[in-house]
């Protein structure tokens, strides 16, 4: 009997220990039972504002916080660069439109799935850099956070182009100060611009200024004249507005041996931004506090910003489900796969908790063909693949339909052709169940089949090129893209007898193979443009010297058009030139085929977060000075 008591007491002890452990772990009763606060449903007007603003610059929202109960994919608008000669008055501050509605206070808790590569944004390759550090710095100009399309001043309060279009003169705010108390001057701007285009050091994104920037001079403490390499460079200001183009203090960085390292420790950053650095737990998160001396009077609205790095998708989602986080400002695409995003979005929005903005379509999914060796050295073979490719299937399987067909220039923007036009292009055509040409975006539409004429033409070209029975080809890519070659393997075998051997490796191996042109047939990558401007794609993908064109393919006609359009100040004429460029790319003889446009970020915005507008590309709009919390 005593033995039984001992056994029972052991069992009871174990239960007590477990219960105690659970009680400690669950924290106070208050914490355990706090339910999410119900928030009023956003208005339909706000929804309309968010969607209309994406395609119509004139209808850009100017005041109401944009929070929609259900958000469409982010459409792409054209970057609006204020007309040359127009000077923004210091009395008309870009942030005046929302200042009066804002609420102050609170801590903005930001969830981030990816670590920043650099805190010195001139050295940063990718958006996790500005995702972390953008709030510490200012640019000269930026995208208006209320529409994410219009270029407005950041440190600059006005700018004016010279009559010959060869220079632009900026005036900066005279009350801007660095975090060490020194004034921000024109010398700092000149130093920063020169640092951005420096050779022999790593400048992954800011080097985008090199094709335009000729030099700059400080005219007086608040005036800077920037000379350009050719008149009226249309893409110069849009590039200058992306989040990597930070203005840094000359007095801190000039002449230092460790100038390339010092700002990569955020504790050392001296900047002028809306927030000041507080702490950084390496690899885990960081915390900022409001800059009390910020030159934009009235900004920022929250007292501080805390970012926590969460890489696991389940933990990421749970953090929002339990109100531990306020926003995923840079984007949650690195943490949450599309399939999980869809179910989370449905649950989250059905509960009226806020908005999950699905990814837009500003990243290019594309594959290279080694055009320097058989069989792809024959342009007919490249065109055959171009025609036979089922872009709709790729988009629906790999992107669950969150994509647009791979037309050459930003779908939805002024540079693009309409869905109806695209639907008539060889290689992009689909027939409906009645055999009629489907005129519209075919993605997500049931019952469509690829146009047989495209397949027939592709087969004819293959036969003409001497490959009537197809050939064997290797396809090299990384695991994120794995569905693409799997689908292509089946379709290319069926239509052109191309037998694809798939080689999936890590990202670095694929990129190394791309840069060294160490692939025999297909190699797929993707391209994330910085700005919605043709220059970005022409210099990034289509022309020689482009990062996505190490295989040095160039169509001389396309180069000629690039040279013509890059300084064209008449937007309509520039559009017409881009139509010509589009026609050249649509010959399908390039070194690459762009199968679709897709997006990566997924923005989770609870109702309590106000004045949030998703941006068009993944390389800007990561500052949060304009956001407030509605407790």
């Amino acid at each position: 009997m005593k033995a039984l008591k001992i056994r029972a007491s052991i069992l009871v002890s174990v239960c007590v220990i477990l219960a105690a452990v659970a009680a400690v772990a669950c924290g106070s009763a208050e914490q355990a039972t706090t339910a999410p606060t119900a928030t009023p449903a956003p208005t339909a007007a706000a929804t309309a504002a968010s969607t209309a603003g994406a395609t119509d610059a004139a209808a850009a929202p100017t005041s109401a916080p944009v929070v929609a109960p259900t958000a469409p994919p982010i459409a792409v608008g054209t970057v609006v660069v204020p007309t040359r000669g127009v000077v923004r008055s210091t009395a008309q501050k870009p942030w005046d439109s929302y200042l009066s509605q804002a609420k102050y206070g609170g801590l903005l808790r930001n969830a981030e799935p990816v670590l920043p590569d650099h805190w010195d944004l001139h050295q940063s390759c990718c958006n996790p850099g500005p995702g972390a550090a953008r709030d510490l710095y200012n640019n000269l100009v930026m995208y208006d956070p209320t529409d994410q399309k219009t270029i407005v001043g950041d440190l600059a309060n006005s700018w004016e182009w010279a009559a010959d279009g060869r220079s632009v003169t900026f005036t900066i705010w005279d009350n801007a100060v660095w975090s060490d108390g020194q004034p921000v001057t024109a010398d700092d701007v000149v130093f920063s611009l020169n640092r951005m285009v420096a050779e022999g050091v790593s400048r992954p994104r800011v080097k985008n200024l090199r094709p335009y920037y000729a030099g700059s001079q400080a005219i007086d403490p608040t005036t800077i004249k920037v000379n350009t390499l050719f008149p009226n460079p249309a893409a110069f200001l849009p590039f200058l507005a992306i989040d990597f183009m930070s203005i840094v203090p000359k007095h801190v960085l000039e002449g230092r041996e460790d100038a390339e390292e010092i700002f990569d420790n955020p504790e050392n950053i001296v900047a002028s931004g809306a927030y000041l650095f507080v702490s950084h737990d390496v690899g885990q998160g960081w915390e900022f506090e409001k800059n009390p001396n910020y030159f934009k009077e009235g900004l920022p609205f929250v007292d501080g910003k805390q970012t926590i790095v969460i890489k696991d998708k389940d933990r990421f989602i749970t953090a929002f489900m339990t109100d531990q986080m306020d926003i995923s400002h840079r984007g949650a695409g690195g943490a949450i796969p599309l399939i999980d995003m869809v179910s989370f979005k449905n649950d989250w929005e059905a509960d009226g908790r806020g908005v999950v903005y699905p990814p837009g379509a500003t990243i290019q999914g594309l594959f290279n063909m080694n055009w320097t060796a058989p069989p792809f050295e024959d342009p007919r073979v490249r065109r055959a693949v171009f025609l036979a490719l089922d872009r709709k299937e790729l988009a629906e399987v790999h992107q669950l339909g969150f994509a647009k067909l791979g037309q050459p220039f930003f779908p939805g923007s002024d540079w693009a052709s309409s869905d109806e036009e695209v639907a008539t292009w060889p290689g992009f055509r689909y027939l409906d169940e009645s055999g009629e040409l489907y005129l519209g975006d075919p993605i997500g539409v049931d019952g469509l089949t690829k146009h047989p004429d495209d397949i027939a033409e592709a087969q004819r070209l293959m036969a003409e090129a001497g490959y009537p029975d197809g050939f064997k080809a290797a396809y090299h890519t990384y695991s994120v893209n794995k569905n693409i070659p799997v689908i292509m393997k089946q379709r290319m075998q069926e239509t052109l007898n191309i037998e694809i051997d798939i080689n999936i490796t890590d990202v670095a191996s694929v990129i190394a193979a791309e840069q060294a042109v160490d692939f025999s047939h297909f190699l797929s990558v993707h391209n994330g443009p910085n700005i919605v401007d043709p220059d970005d794609l022409l210099l990034g993908v289509y022309l020689t010297g482009a990062p996505r064109n190490p295989i040095d393919y160039e169509d001389p006609e396309l180069r000629a058009i690039f040279e013509q359009q890059k300084g064209e100040s008449d937007q309509e004429k520039r559009k017409a030139l881009i139509r010509e460029a589009e026609a050249i790319i649509l010959k399908g003889e390039h070194h690459m085929i762009q199968y679709y446009w897709y997006g990566d970020p997924i923005w989770i915005v609870p109702n309590r977060v106000k004045n949030y507008v998703p941006r068009q590309t993944v390389q800007y709009g990561m500052g949060t000075e304009h956001i407030w919390l509605d407790p």
């Binding site: 990718c126 958006n127 790593s202 933990r315 749970t318 994120v480 990129i511 010297g545």
Partner: protein, 317 residues
């Protein structure tokens, strides 16, 4: 005993040297390039010239034997070098992260033995009872379920049924023990479940074996009470094999922490290792692997010595 200790130490040092070589070589053999990772990989926008600049800066364009030699030389000077990606001394990262993972591993181990030993003993004593069957289900599930899945399940239950999940912002145990325990207890439970199950199964089987030994029958025939028979004679002897797996289990816990830390956002060495492998941060990966190897080897050495001390037959063999 001295000879036994020397013999074990003689094996310890070459194993550590081999571990250092493997830690260095594996990262170089595996595909990948830290320069490409630092330039953003597939997300990046760079040319071959950009790559060359970064490779030169990192020193990864030097011959492998030079890189290995430099690393070993620095190690002997107590310098773990600097992280490519985090740009802080690796020693700082290790100092920050290892205590967190150690706490997690120790908590998981303690939790598992607090549960496993009574569970195994009671299962053996009450063989084929409902308790034994229930314990069997619990332990077989623990052995069968992947650790990461248990972690996700815990997160799911907490989030969905209690609308509560552990805090995200890590708090040091010595600064805020309550928050620290809230953060660490569930990862420890998830991490320790396998060990609990494994140790409970082992305890049960060794207890059953011991319970049929002659000396137990003798103890009973002497008229000793059952509790004394079990507590003083059976458990003590049955516990010996269980002790020997502690070293192995602690090593395994460090390995398992890689996934659990990511799920529960615990800033330990596991997340550091995953981050560093993904971005090919060679200095960090090498240091972490070497440190884990050192810990596992050290624990095994201690267990070997302990076992030799507990069981003289081992050291005379």
């Amino acid at each position: 005993m001295t000879g036994y200790i020397l013999q074990r130490l003689a094996l310890f040092i070459p194993t550590l040297i081999l571990a250092s070589f493997l830690a260095f070589a594996i990262m170089r053999i595996l595909p990948g390039d830290p320069a490409i990772a630092m330039l953003g990989g597939a997300e990046g926008s760079f040319t071959q010239e950009d790559l060359d600049v970064v490779r030169e800066k990192l020193g990864t364009n030097r011959p492998l034997h030079i890189q290995y030699g430099t690393w070993i030389r620095d190690l002997f000077q107590g310098n773990l070098s600097e992280s490519y990606f985090f740009r802080v001394p690796v020693s700082q990262l290790m100092t920050d992260r290892f205590p967190v993972s150690t706490q997690l591993a120790v908590m998981a181990l303690l939790l598992s033995y607090v549960v496993a030993v009574p569970l195994g003993v009671l299962s053996a004593v009450k063989q084929d009872s409902w308790f034994d069957h229930a314990a069997k289900i619990f332990t077989i599930a623990g052995v069968a379920l992947p650790t990461f899945w248990v972690g996700i399940l815990i997160l799911f239950v907490l989030g969905n049924y209690f609308n509560w999940v552990p805090p995200l912002d890590y708090a040091n145990f010595w600064e805020n023990p309550l928050i620290n325990l809230q953060q660490m207890i569930f990862p420890a439970v998830a991490l320790g479940y396998f060990n609990t199950a494994f140790a409970a199964r082992l305890t049960r089987s060794t207890m059953l074996e011991v319970m049929h030994e002659d000396y137990i029958r003798t103890a009973r025939s002497k008229g000793l009470k059952e509790a004394v028979v079990i507590g003083r004679h059976a458990v003590k002897n049955a516990f010996l094999p269980v002790v020997t797996i502690v070293g192995f289990q602690l090593g395994r816990l460090f390995g398992g922490a890689v996934v659990i830390e990511a799920i529960f956002v615990v800033p330990g060495v596991g997340t550091l290792l995953v981050d560093s492998v993904l971005i090919r941060d060679y200095p960090v990966v090498q240091a972490v692997i070497l440190m884990i190897a050192l810990i596992v080897l050290g624990l095994n050495l201690v267990v070997d010595l302990l076992y030799g001390w507990l069981n003289p037959r081992i050291r005379y063999a």
